[in-house]
């Protein structure tokens, strides 16, 4: 899941000009204990679940990075 998330972040950095500072802020938000233990899912999760995860994480990431509409 984190790889999936990093892929999205990388895409955003190169294509939409996300600053490194914002990227680290978002990454930190995700690397809390609640998310850390899910790393195992990365290479084994069925594609359909990854598809949902990548969309969900992309939206969460977008909201967190703009610091609006989050919680």
């Amino acid at each position: 899941m984190v790889t999936c998330f990093l892929h999205i972040c990388t895409f955003e950095i190169f294509h939409n000009g996300l600053s490194e500072e914002s990227f680290l802020k978002v990454l930190k938000a995700f690397l809390d204990p609640e998310f850390c233990d899910e790393i195992i899912l990365v290479s084994h999760t069925p594609y359909k679940y990854l598809l949902v995860l990548s969309h969900g994480l992309q939206l969460i990431y977008r909201m967190v990075s703009q610091e609006v509409a989050w919680k």
């Binding site: 899910e38 999760t45 949902v52 995860l53 969309h55 969900g56 939206l59 909201m63 703009q66 609006v68």
Partner: protein
């Protein structure tokens, strides 16, 4: 069946036209804007009426498999057209007003192209025409309730995971967020009002949970073998 075949052919024709225009320039005299708009209006009207009236539309009754197939094909034609025409700005208002009342009753097969249609309307919305608050509210109501329903069955093994519904719903939210305040003036406050962050986080967590149970099952089976 003839109508459905015609709609499938029309959809393919529109797709080819779109690609042809994109890469080789428009051929408007053959397929002018007003014709596309007329097809969009007729398709939308038929899409609503088959559901609304419950009366016969051709040989198709509302609520039957045939009517769902027909409405699914109509929605796919509409999807193609919204990307190719400069449709009137109230089109999305009318569409969302209707969907807010009827979307939940439709089958998944019809809901998927409809969500794709809504996403297309938001993505191609011209800049000077912001989406009205009530339309944005209707959109969020449809999307959030759709995500809410699908999340409830995510961890239920007897249901197939409705990936297309979830991804299209999330794509609509991403489209709204991407268009930002110039097209969706109150998107930020409405995202908060409809607890978008909470429902999306919940979907992600449920998906992780389901993924984990699938992985555990695979792991246990591999040990047994």
């Amino acid at each position: 069946m003839e109508i459905e075949n015609f709609l499938v052919s029309l959809k393919q024709f529109l797709r080819v036209m779109h690609m042809r225009n994109k890469y080789s320039g428009p051929i408007d005299p053959v397929f002018p804007e007003k014709t596309k708009l007329a097809i969009l209006q007729y398709s939308t009207k038929a899409f609503f009426e088959i559901k609304d009236s419950g009366a016969e539309a051709g040989n198709v009754k509302s609520g039957t498999d045939n009517s769902d197939t027909l409405r699914c094909s109509l929605a796919e034609v509409m999807c193609q057209l919204v990307h190719q025409t400069t449709f009137e700005s109230d089109y999305l208002d009318v569409l969302m007003g209707w969907l807010a009342r009827n979307f939940a009753e439709d089958k998944v097969a019809v809901q998927i192209p409809v969500l794709y249609l809504v996403r297309g309307c938001i993505e191609v919305r011209p800049q000077p025409n912001p989406i009205s608050d009530s339309t944005l509210e209707n959109t969020l109501r449809v999307v959030v309730s759709s995500l809410d329903r699908t999340e409830k069955i995510l961890d239920h093994p007897s249901f197939p995971i409705p990936v297309a519904i979830i991804t299209q719903s999330l794509n609509i939210l991403i489209a709204i967020q991407k268009r930002g305040s110039s097209v969706c003036p109150k998107w930020d406050s409405m995202f908060k009002q409809y607890s978008v962050a909470a429902i999306v986080s919940s979907i992600v967590r449920s998906t992780i949970s389901v993924s984990r149970s699938v992985l555990d099952y695979k792991f246990n089976v591999s040990i047994l073998m």
